[in-house]
């Protein structure tokens, strides 16, 4: 609570709806982010559609059964799911007004996310060494694009999360930083949901 009282007022006059003649800016920004997420759903939807159409077109190259090493994939799946859980803990800490715990859980989330990315990069390097590149076949083009786009989202989320931890250290829990934490946690859960579809459609159904 102390943090909230200390630094919360610095931005209070700008962001909360104490003037009734303009709408609550932070609520509006969160709403806009929901709409942005819907557009991102469509981007992933398009990439999933392309993957489903092209997954059988192996061009004489390797298929999912030969390429995917499920051990690593399952490990990285659990890492990402856990990071979603810790980002939820961060939001809970924020609502309790505990800045240290909030920053700590965000840090754990970012670490888990970074581990996920390292594992994914390793998987891609392994595939390329096996001779399975983006230009090998339509199946692999669609695979690398879909999984890589998800990885790109996670990487951008990481940079964003680190920037947010620094801002929390500077400003504390204010209406503005509160909204930012809420928004990135939405983003993080969203990427988790997308990954569940990737895991199911690309990996599980691929090695079936």
């Amino acid at each position: 609570m102390a943090q909230l009282n200390d630094s919360g007022h610095a931005n209070q006059h700008v962001s909360s709806s104490d003037h009734h003649d303009h709408p609550d800016m932070e609520e509006m920004r969160t709403f806009g982010f929901w709409i942005y997420l819907m557009t991102d759903v469509i981007i992933f939807g398009t990439l999933f559609a392309a993957y489903i159409v092209l997954q059988g077109n192996r061009n004489g190259g390797p298929g999912p059964e030969e390429l995917f090493q499920m051990g690593g994939i399952i490990a990285s799946t659990f890492i990402l799911l856990t990071s979603s859980y810790t980002s939820g803990l961060a939001v809970l800490a924020m609502h309790k007004g505990n800045r240290q715990a909030l920053m700590g859980w965000l840090g754990v989330t970012a670490l888990l996310g970074a581990t996920f990315i390292v594992l994914e990069v390793n998987e891609f390097i392994h595939l390329v060494h096996e001779g399975a590149t983006i230009s090998t076949s339509a199946f692999l083009s669609a695979f690398f694009t879909l999984v890589g786009t998800h990885g790109l989202h996670v990487s951008i989320g990481l940079v964003w999360m680190i920037a947010l931890i620094i801002q929390l250290a500077k400003h504390g829990i204010t209406p503005v930083t509160k909204r930012k934490v809420n928004v990135i946690s939405l983003f993080w859960h969203f990427l988790d949901v997308v990954w569940i579809f990737v895991f199911t459609i690309v990996y599980l159904m691929g090695v079936r």
Partner: protein
């Protein structure tokens, strides 16, 4: 060394065509002129403070419309060149490869860099004023959208003099748009020009949905909102669902070209028809995205100039929403000839025909609004009437095209070319002109000259029918689209000549419009009322041009045509003279980040086009840094003190 420079330059710059040397010279002269003018009149600071960094929706709107007019000029010159080439059989004005480039850039520029910014310009200048808001929901993002559009358009247009233009049609169908058949950089300019401006369009869609849903004046229930914001809402809903498909599809084409992926290639298991499906899943909603706001404009104008409440308000709202949804269910009618079978074609033929129903509802609503109204025929109303006739013809030929078996004959013929120009010029362009003439006084504080405007209107209309009606016939006679020339033996030349003359008339009409603006500025007659058309909606309740905070006090809305009702109320009982209580107004601060960040996008795009990795990486790093700088900036808004509001109001209200 010198040899290296020479060989680089000969590939980098487009050479060999006198037309292009002419363009080079005029571009260089224009840039020198602008730089000299700004320096001589010491206007650099003014340009930066008032325009490049502005987050004011009205100024952003003006910049959008200005860019759209420039692009209309370029796209129009492309059109005239094509019509000149086709005026007579066996002409050699344009070489075939040059002709391909010109029809490609004509299509891309007219839809994406003329219609879209014109539309966004009207969104920006009108929507906040009509719903009684002080700005859009995200003013910073709004400025970013504009600059992304601007630099995307610049990147695309640059291909004319650097590297070479794209030449695979406005939708760049593979396999021809793939590296195997199209190794030049033109196609990459296409991808990145559209991609960068497309991100801007997507953000504008989000911005206006939130603006309309969250920022309406107190008391303005959705069903009391004017019709134009409704049309914007329906259009933006289509934007947020369709533009991500475009982004993803162009990204896939880019991966094919840049990294050798096999999404749409003929080899490696790629599937070109998938591209054609995906691009039309965006492309068909796109044409409704641009026409729906035009429908909103006509609705406002018809009720203003008939001095009647809009007939069938609710049915109008439902019709627009239904069109917005149905637009996603018709994409395959662009390629009935794909061979997807009778069942699929029957489905898409039926959904296409269904769209005629809500569209018909709207036409009847406009007609019934005019019925027994006291109609006056100022230019906005003239364009609206011209639209109803023109769009009716275009709509009916659209229903003809939707009949799948018959479409096997119409497909890719001049019948189709005539149809979509009929709907896009007759629907979209006429609508935006009507809107521009209607809201011009609100933007600048004076009306455009009516007499010259009427000349422009008649030249446009007569030119339009002379140009496109013969094309229906030519299509039925077997002339296919994108044809560079034809023989004397075909019997097509009379119709083509008439068509070219019509195109020339429309070119003259455009000159009339430019003259109209110049003349009206020179013989400026200031509109002191702020309400020159006896309008019905909130934008006419404030002075023109609107002060930067729009409304000194936010209006309380109680009915659909609030300003009209308010005027009636004031007539019954004169306004009590107690001045409204002013409060400090919350406003966003200007920011240079949108402009700088879009320049970095431009650099990154240029790097991708020429495969210069150093430029791409520096561009993308610049974009990321801009985003972080913005994220770390907590000083983004301010309050206008009451004293300042009082002073401004006193100055503009006299």
């Amino acid at each position: 060394m010198w040899e290296n420079v020479k060989s680089f330059a000969s590939e980098f710059f487009v050479t060999g065509d006198p037309l292009i040397y002419g363009a080079d010279i005029s571009i260089v002269l224009t840039i020198i002129g602008i730089v000299f003018g700004l320096t001589y009149f010491k206007k650099w600071g003014w340009l930066w403070r008032e325009w490049l960094t502005t987050v004011d929706h009205k100024k952003i709107g003006i910049m959008y419309i200005l860019s759209a007019f420039l692009m209309l000029f370029r796209g129009g010159v492309d059109a005239l060149l094509m019509r000149a080439q086709l005026a007579m059989p066996e002409l050699n004005l344009l070489a075939p490869d040059h002709y391909n480039q010109i029809f490609t850039t004509h299509g891309v520029i007219m839809i994406l860099f003329m219609a879209m910014p014109f539309m966004f310009g009207l969104f920006n200048v009108v929507v906040p004023l009509q719903i009684g808001a002080r700005d859009v929901a995200y003013p910073f993002l709004n400025a970013l959208s504009f600059w992304l559009f601007f630099f995307g358009a610049m990147l695309f247009n640059l291909s004319f003099v650097i590297g070479g233009s794209p030449d695979s049609g406005w939708l760049a169908y593979p396999p021809y748009s793939e590296r195997m058949f199209n190794p030049g950089v033109g196609q990459d300019f296409y991808i990145w020009g559209i991609q960068i401006s497309g991100i801007g369009s997507l953000m504008t869609g989000i911005n206006f949905i939130v603006t309309i849903l969250k920022m309406r004046a107190p008391g303005m229930k959705l069903m009391k909102m004017p019709m134009f914001p409704w049309s914007v809402l329906s259009s933006c809903i289509a934007i947020i669902f369709s533009f991500p498909i475009l982004t993803a599809t162009l990204a896939l084409l880019f991966l094919d070209r840049y990294l050798g992926a096999h999404f749409f290639t003929l080899d490696g298991g790629g599937n070109p028809m998938m591209y054609i499906n995906l691009i039309w899943m965006w492309g068909h909603p796109e044409v409704y995205i641009i026409v729906l706001p035009a429908f909103g404009i006509y609705s406002e104008i018809v009720s203003t100039f008939a001095k009647k409440k809009l007939f069938g308000y609710k049915s109008m709202v439902y019709a627009m929403m239904i069109i917005s949804i149905l637009s996603f269910l018709v994409w395959a009618h662009h390629f009935f000839t794909m061979g997807s079978g009778a069942d699929v074609n029957a489905f898409f033929a039926l959904t296409t025909m269904l769209i005629a129903i809500p569209t018909g509802v709207k036409v009847f609503n406009w007609l019934f609004t005019m019925f027994r109204g006291k109609i006056t025929f100022e230019t906005p109303m003239l364009w609206t009437l011209g639209f109803i006739v023109c769009f009716l013809v275009g709509g009916m030929t659209g229903v003809l095209l939707s009949v799948a078996p018959a479409d096997f004959q119409f497909h890719n013929s001049y019948f189709l070319v005539a149809h979509f120009h009929n709907t896009i010029i007759g629907g979209v362009v006429f609508g935006y002109f009507a809107g521009l003439y209607y809201w011009w006084p609100k933007l600048f504080g004076f009306k455009l000259n009516e007499r010259i405007g009427k000349w422009a209107f008649w030249f446009w209309n007569i030119g339009f029918y002379a140009c496109f009606m013969p094309q229906y016939v030519l299509g039925l006679m077997g002339m296919t689209r994108r044809l560079v020339t034809y023989g004397w033996d075909k019997g097509w030349w009379e119709m083509n000549l008439v068509s070219t003359i019509g195109a020339g008339l429309m070119g003259i009409a455009f000159l009339f419009q430019v003259w109209q603006i110049v003349y009206s500025v020179k013989h400026l007659q200031k509109d002191e009322t702020g309400d020159p058309w006896n309008g019905r909606t909130l934008e006419w309740s404030i002075p023109s041009p609107a002060p930067y905070y729009n409304f000194a006090t936010l209006p309380q809305v109680s009915s659909q045509d609030e300003w009209w009702e308010e005027k009636q109320r004031r007539e019954r009982e004169p306004l009590s003279l107690a001045p409204p209580k002013l409060e400090p107004i919350h406003m966003p601060k200007n920011s240079g980040i949108p402009f700088v960040m879009s320049m970095f996008w431009f650099a990154a795009g240029f790097g991708f086009v020429f495969d210069w990795l150093w430029l791409t990486i520096s561009g993308l790093v610049g974009v990321a840094v801009c985003m972080l700088v913005h994220s770390f900036n907590y000083d983004t808004d301010y309050y206008i003190p009451v004293e300042d509001i009082k002073r401004t109001e006193a100055a503009i209200r006299g």
